[in-house]
């Protein structure tokens, strides 16, 4: 059972290595001497919460840190509560914040109590993928047919996603720009709710992460059309109707000129912490992502391996921020 997954993972990680992986030297001059708090930028149960709690359980099991770790959820204000808390803990190396790309995107679209620079990037540990899904009763079999149908409906096609101005809506806006088609975006509290709305055929599509929709896919309620990635997913084990994640075409293959859209799983420290402290946590995270438990979780949730830290991570943030700033300015979302 394990070996094909592991093989697929190896392929995936080789691919991700090219993206800009820098190894961290495990020169741990500094070590925490007090209990460490993992601050989660989401409520209990969400993807970010699982991410932080999994890292906690791996650290505990493999004894990667000498001090106990506690996890606390600060998911208020779309996760901004955690980042504001991180800002307040200026210089405290025992507060580690777990989030996504929302750390640098939220302050662009909403007046927030923190700036992206109030936190120091430690590592980006994996990326979650986005897939265009439709109800399995819907007539369109391919992404091209779906876009054509949406073009005819002229804005009537309803796409569900999480909260407004968050990752899902940003993606739908890009999809609109890439294809010149209008959609009606319906915001719900979470990807889980968007999955149920699509399975019940109350909306025509959603852009959920693989793991948010996989249950409904297996139950035959929804159908994947294309994945927003430059290459197909690596997982080749059949999931539903004899198809595997790797059988889903990329959106470029399917005729939508939208190359890559992914959500990184990120780790942060408060501003004012030292380079050694950042390096310590980067080294711990590097060990975490090499454990079988971590690889198992990625495979189970169909996320892709992509460990980035140090200057490469900082550059990636800057690039992504610039790109989104331009899009937000065009849409009139930009506030900062």
């Amino acid at each position: 059972m394990r070996s094909p997954v592991a093989a697929a993972l190896a392929v995936a990680s080789l691919g991700a290595l090219g993206a800009g992986f820098t190894a961290t030297s495990a020169s741990a001059d500094w070590q925490p001497n007090r209990p460490v708090e993992f601050v989660v930028a989401s409520g209990p149960g969400g993807g970010t919460d699982q991410f932080a709690r999994l890292v906690q359980s791996i650290i505990q099991k493999h004894e990667l840190m000498a001090v106990p770790v506690i996890v606390s959820n600060k998911g208020g204000g779309a996760g901004s509560e955690a980042f504001v808390y991180g800002k307040g803990a200026d210089g405290d190396p025992t507060k580690v914040v777990f989030g996504t790309n929302n750390e640098w995107l939220l302050p662009l679209v909403t007046k927030m109590g923190y700036a992206s620079s109030d936190l120091r990037p430690v590592a980006s540990m994996a990326v979650d993928e986005f897939i265009l899904w439709t109800n399995s009763e819907a007539p369109y079999q391919t992404a091209a047919e779906f876009i054509e149908s949406a073009r005819k409906q002229n804005g009537g096609m309803k796409v569900a996603g999480s909260q407004s101005k968050d990752t899902d809506q940003i993606l739908v806006r890009r999809l609109e720009k890439a294809t010149g088609v209008k959609f009606t975006y319906v915001p719900f509290k979470s990807g889980g709710e968007a999955a149920v709305q699509l399975a019940g055929a109350h909306v025509e599509a959603n852009t959920n992460n693989p793991q948010e929709n996989v249950g409904q896919w297996k139950a035959g309620k929804v159908r994947p059309l294309c994945v927003f990635s430059s290459k197909r997913l690596a997982y080749k084990e059949p999931v539903a109707d004899g198809k595997s994640w790797a059988d889903i075409p990329t959106c470029v293959e399917a005729g939508i000129p939208l190359d890559t859209y992914q959500m990184p799983r990120t780790v942060w420290l408060p501003k004012g912490t030292s380079d050694e402290q950042v390096a310590f946590y980067a080294a711990v995270m590097d060990k975490v992502r090499q454990t079988p438990e971590w690889k198992d979780w990625l495979a189970r949730t169909s996320q892709s391996e992509a460990f980035v830290t140090g200057p490469a991570f900082a550059d990636a943030i800057k690039q992504d921020e610039t790109k989104n700033r331009a899009q937000f300015a065009e849409d009139g979302w930009l506030v900062n």
């Binding site: 969400g46 919460d49 407004s164 319906v186 249950g215």
Partner: protein, 501 residues
């Protein structure tokens, strides 16, 4: 395999010594965290979560769900004894439970609540057993218009509640709605009513408001009345508990009606909080002595408790089948599921057959264990009320404020609880009802989201609330309930006119 055979296999799993021990331990821990306001079930379950990483998934879910059942019962205890609801869904229990306890009958109040809750929970489990395989399908038919219709029904069945002035009720309702709006808005992605003040970004936490409004507010009133709360002298023993239980069949109508409301609200994902409020409202509306509600009427305890627990129990499976948690506690449990290597969703029932039926079987046992344990603790908890106020008062304040702090480890929440304490006191003094404010805080935000999502879906047409059979029936029912006083007068007037003819 038929469902019955599956259930028997499930019992085999659940009845091992290890699992029964986990159930008893989980229920006891649950009662403990439920009794301490603020600590609550979600925090308790997250504290236990790391312990379960090394367990078998069935054992882990049995431990966590047992703790959840225990916490639900524990939450009712503080509602009744101190007017401090431990969970949003036990707010409605305070309306009659606390007056009854204060009138010197805490044992009766607690025993009534627990018996009704136990009855509701067991009916809920039976229903879950019968519907296990089709349960996800029912919830899939629910979209925003249906949700809005459910919340509207909850609001409407509650309108005219309490003897307060209609304008005062409206004012309380609107304050509640404004409080629910604070923080990040889902539909627009904007911050609302935060005034650029960071701690408000996460919104006003319901539990903090309730701790202040009910707990601290009550203390302030008692202090003003010259510390006359000097404990009660009623006889407290297990015999009273049994006598109360023996008297329960008298209220069979309220029990059955509330349980039906609860089960229905649990399976269609309306949730236990809406269920308990709705059930209380309906009970008062159709009672032959509505004027006694609010002053210790047993039906006022039975109705919210039976509905709350039957909804809580029957909501767990749809949640697992849909992958959408209905409460903070369920969200933690669902996160646990993923860490144990299970995928919540429609396939859980076929892929993890033994897990699901083990859980269902454990729900029977854990709820029986929970009822027996809480009923046994009734004399102990009732005895707390014998302690003079000069001792128990400060303790309640300490428990309230620690509770407010632990909700999200924030000092700001403690200040907020104190402010709400003053608000609760002023409300009482000026005879403003607190219940509509609380109801609006719990359901206002959800109702608003559902309404705006419906408007996006329908392109602004109100017709969407009658576009499906479910939504149409619920919306019409809601309006009928809201206009019931008018309607009944009209019917009375018509029949009165017909008599001479």
């Amino acid at each position: 395999m038929s469902d019955f055979a599956s259930l028997l296999v499930g019992f085999q799993t659940a009845l091992s010594t290890y699992h029964v021990a986990l159930m008893i331990g989980g229920v006891l821990l649950g009662i403990l965290v439920g009794v301490l306001p603020g600590l609550g079930a979600p925090n308790g379950v997250s504290l236990l979560l790391p312990l379960t990483f090394s367990m078998d998934p069935v054992s882990a879910i049995i431990l966590l769900s047992s703790m959840y059942w225990g916490a639900l019962f524990g939450g009712s205890t503080t509602s009744i004894l101190f007017n401090i609801p431990g969970e949003p869904s036990s707010v409605a229990t305070t309306f009659d439970g606390y007056p009854m306890a204060k009138a010197g009958k805490p044992t009766e109040a607690l025993a009534t609540a627990f018996s009704a809750a136990g009855f509701g929970a067991l009916v809920g489990v039976v229903l879950v057993t019968l519907l296990a395989n089709s349960i996800a399908g029912i919830a899939l038919r629910f979209s925003s218009p249906e949700y809005f219709a459910v919340y509207l029904l909850a609001f409407c069945s509650f309108i005219g509640m309490g003897s307060g002035h209609p304008l005062k009720t409206a004012a309380a309702l609107l304050i509640g709605l404004s409080l629910a709006a604070v923080g990040m808005d889902t539909v627009s992605g904007e911050m609302r009513l935060t005034f650029g003040y960071d701690p408000l970004v996460k919104g006003v936490t319901f539990l903090v408001a309730v701790i202040g409004l009910f707990g601290i507010g009550e203390i302030l009133i008692t202090v003003e009345q010259g510390l006359k709360f000097d404990g009660i002298h009623a006889k407290i023993d297990l015999a009273t508990v049994f006598r109360t239980m023996a008297g329960m069949p008298r209220y069979w109508l309220a029990l059955v009606r509330s349980t039906l409301i609860g089960c229905w609200m649990g399976i269609t994902p309306g949730g236990p909080t809406a269920a308990s409020f709705m059930s209380y409202g309906v009970a008062r509306r159709f009672s032959r002595r509505p004027e006694r509600f609010g002053s210790g009427e047993p039906e006022g305890i039975i109705s919210p408790e039976a509905a709350d627990h039957s909804a809580g129990v029957s909501a767990l499976l749809p949640m697992l089948a849909l992958g959408v948690p209905g409460s903070a506690t369920a969200a933690v449990m669902m996160g646990g599921l993923m860490i144990w290597g299970l995928q919540p969703g429609p396939m859980l029932f076929t892929e993890q057959h033994d897990f699901v039926w083990g859980l269902i079987a454990s729900m029977y046992l854990a709820n029986v264990v929970a009822v027996i344990l809480v009923l046994a603790t009734v004399p102990l908890f009732s005895a707390i009320l014998r302690v003079p106020f000069s001792i128990i008062g400060p303790l309640i304040v300490v428990v309230c404020l620690t509770g407010a702090y632990t909700v999200s480890n924030s000092m700001f929440d403690v200040v907020l609880a104190l402010i709400f304490g003053v608000v609760g006191y002023v409300f009482k003094k000026l005879d403003y009802p607190i219940a509509p404010l609380v109801l609006a805080m719990v359901l206002g935000d959800k109702a608003e989201d559902a309404f705006r999502q419906s408007m996006i879906l329908s392109n602004g047409s109100l017709g969407i609330f009658w576009s499906t059979a479910i939504a149409g029936t619920l919306t019409t029912l809601a309006f009928a309930l809201a206009l019931w006083p008018l309607l009944s007068r009209l019917i009375g007037w018509m029949s009165a006119r017909r008599v001479p003819v």
